[in-house]
Symmetry: C2
Subunit: 213 residues, 2 copies
């Protein structure tokens, strides 16, 4: 597979993740081949958008046939760099942290949570989903052992920055932050925010004032 461009726009990556999700559900239902129109419909985009997004890294559709579901998933995940295991660690073993540690989809999709950390002495030593909760102070040592590259923050907002500092110091390359707080990290560290309330605010606004774009 040739990577035609390493400047895939953010909006395209977001849609590619949707395509993978839809394609995986199709595969689960036994669909092996799909043409662009029904695929587009299932993804809530138009067919030309799909063709344009896929053109960033090559050509996939077979004229008169459509897309081979399994091979298209492989091509997209390879283009996104998710065709391998990504080791992750999680800081903050509260309700949300526990739910994510027990979430089967992470491992299924290659994002393997290999460490759980918390600074609460009552949580340290507890076993969740086969992982022992370890003191956050030992993060660097543990990452040296398990080679994790992505850190997941599920602490309360006031502890998010400290968790981020620990992750940066331990040599992590990317952070997925669920805590409702902004964090500051060096420019070479990638940060993604899962902001549930942004979505609830958008719902609230759209219900109150009518749909936005």
């Amino acid at each position: 597979m040739t990577q035609k461009s390493d400047h895939i726009p953010r909006a395209t990556i977001q849609r590619l993740a949707v395509y993978v999700q839809v394609l995986e559900n199709l595969l689960r239902e036994g669909t092996e081949v799909i043409s662009s129109e029904p695929l587009a419909k299932a993804c809530n985009v138009n067919a030309s958008q799909i063709r344009k997004d896929l053109a960033y890294f090559g050509e996939f559709g077979v004229r008169g046939v459509g897309y081979y579901v399994k091979s298209l998933i492989e091509s997209i995940t390879s283009a996104l760099g998710v065709d391998r295991e990504w080791r992750t660690v999680l800081i903050g073993v509260g309700n949300l942290g526990r739910a994510l540690l027990n979430h089967k989809e992470f491992r299924l999709r290659g994002f393997n949570i290999v460490g759980a950390f918390d600074c609460d002495p009552f949580k340290i030593g507890e076993e969740i989903s086969g992982l022992e909760v370890v003191c956050t102070k030992r993060l660097k040592e543990k990452i040296g052992e398990n080679g994790a590259e992505i850190g997941i923050i599920t602490t309360p907002p006031e502890r998010a920055q400290r968790a981020a500092n620990h992750l940066v110091e331990a040599g992590i390359k990317g952070i997925l932050n669920f805590a409702p707080a902004r964090i500051t990290v060096p420019g070479d560290i990638n940060v993604e925010y899962v902001d549930i309330f942004h979505h609830l605010y958008a719902l609230s606004f759209n219900i109150t004032f009518g749909k936005t774009d």
Copy 2:
């Protein structure tokens, strides 16, 4: 407060949610007034962006003083329609559903979860965070009683569409979907997707190929 425009762009709503998050953390730390430069820095945007976003619904900064934190939060939440209680129901009492039912931030921010639903007979009747889990077939009846307007879906992907159908039939106006599946609903229903894997894919891509936009 005057609503200057009811066409606030989606990206602005996303940033407004960030401003509220940052302002609430400032308020918690005891900050009463902040000028636009440090506020912009804490939000990872530039000061002119903040001024532009706030201009959609009026003027707030006091020249030479800055923004009054508490009043700015009130203005933004009022502009987004989140200055009141939003009653929500949740379908799918798995790990993530339980975590959200126990998540204090929902109630704190006015998104009160007033019903928990599942079709698993082993879960029906169980009490979580003060709510009794009810059979999903009784959704319409229960929403008639509690007046919920937003539905949260935390089912497995293959049950998401059925949950959405129940919510639409029960008269819900907006859906927050955590299930990794697309759902189809009538055009007047607002849907927001919380797609954790889109963020993980973006991290994976950025770590592998260097930062995108």
